[in-house]
Amino acid sequence: MEGETAKPAKGRVCTICNQRRAALKRPKTLEQICRECFYAVFEQEIHGVIVENQLFKPGERVAIGASGGKDSTVLAYVLSELNRRHNYGLDLFLLSVDEGITGYRDDSLETVKRNEIQYGLPLKVVSYKELYGWTMDEIVKLIGLKNNCTFCGVFRRQALDRGAALLKVDKLVTGHNADDIAETVLLNILRGDIARLSRCTSITTGEDGPIPRCKPFKYTYEKEIFTYAYFKRLDYFSTECIYSPNAYRGFAREFIKDLERIRPRAILDIIKSGEDFRISTSTKMPEQGNCERCGYISSQKWCKACVLLEGLNRGLPKLGIGRSRGVNNEPGKNTKQAKGVESIQSKQCGNLDF
């Protein structure tokens, strides 16, 4: 397995152990380090983030949002490793959402099912079909490819919360990495959404909601996650969602990668900028209540998922997308509040890694 493909050592020596051949240049520090030292610093840094931010308490039940993609696969692997090594005392679970996308989600779910066995973590799958009565395939058939990511994003967020409630977990962790967060910071700036700008950099969110979510990879570069997964030969799924991603987000993503090539620290600096915007509290966040229909947290009469579902079921699928007129647009309600939900999603729908 590991090391077999490598030819005899040539090139530089690791700057940490001064013994083995360097295998990568860390984007964060520009250090040239060997594979073994890389595993050690990669895991140690994530442990440091977990401890410093007090992400977990002993005895907690924690669900890992698992898409079968590389971020959540590496997260499941590293978290179960750290849980053992440092005695976090956590009960870990894998939680997956089956959107009902033939040829995409069914394949990636197979990966998650293998991870269940490989890492010995119990898996729970919740499906759009059972929660909402619709699969993504059926939704796309009805609405076409234009707004499907709105559905995907809103439904997935709620599906994860419902799955987490079924598992009776205290927390949900997701594989969002530093690149993802930098990208979301940029998108929120481009949208003029300053209120969400600082919130999207928080390592823990939703403490006011049913289940807090946290991102142990907040400071972890995508390049290192890929390299880790590759060196460890982790079993992950990597094919683009067939319901193609949001072009605007793709553009921001590419821009971040361009910046990273010129100056790798740019990613951390963008996150820092997002964090430092915290001062602007003049933009009010909507007050949280509960959806009158399904009970999910909502600042409106009905939650976004219920509005979208109502549209689907009444054959008016545009309901709830953009500036729609629907159940929530009663006089006196601040219509501006309604647009929030989709911008909370901090990863393009296309890769379905939550």
């Binding site: 030819k7 295998a23 898409s67 590759y230 990597s238 094919t239 990273e260 090539r261």
Partner: protein, 99 residues
């Protein structure tokens, strides 16, 4: 010289969904060594069947594509100037596709 090229992270979709290619590539005319720079243009001409912009930008890989030569980050061996030897293994992984 014989090389093994591996495409991952969705890049395999650009070359007939084949992940591993065993290929034979010679240095550019008049050159002694085969460099990554030449290999990239060879790959673009001979293996990439669609959307080359997903793989390359200018004469290098698109930012966000990881390159490993014999399991070693090509940023350590001089990127485009990396010289290749017989039986080398070169891996390309896109980090721009799905997680």
């Amino acid at each position: 010289m014989k090389l093994t090229l591996e495409f991952g992270g969705g890049l395999e979709l650009l070359c007939d969904s084949v992940k591993i290619h065993h290929v034979s590539v010679e240095p550019q005319d008049g050159e002694q060594k085969l460099t990554m720079k030449h290999l990239l243009s060879w790959v673009r001409t001979n293996l990439i069947k669609e959307r080359p912009e997903m793989f390359m930008k200018g004469d290098s890989v698109r930012p966000g594509v990881l390159v490993l030569v014999n399991d070693c980050d090509w940023e350590l061996s001089g990127q485009l100037d990396t010289s290749l030897e017989d039986k080398d293994v070169v891996v390309f992984i896109s980090t721009l596709h799905g997680g």
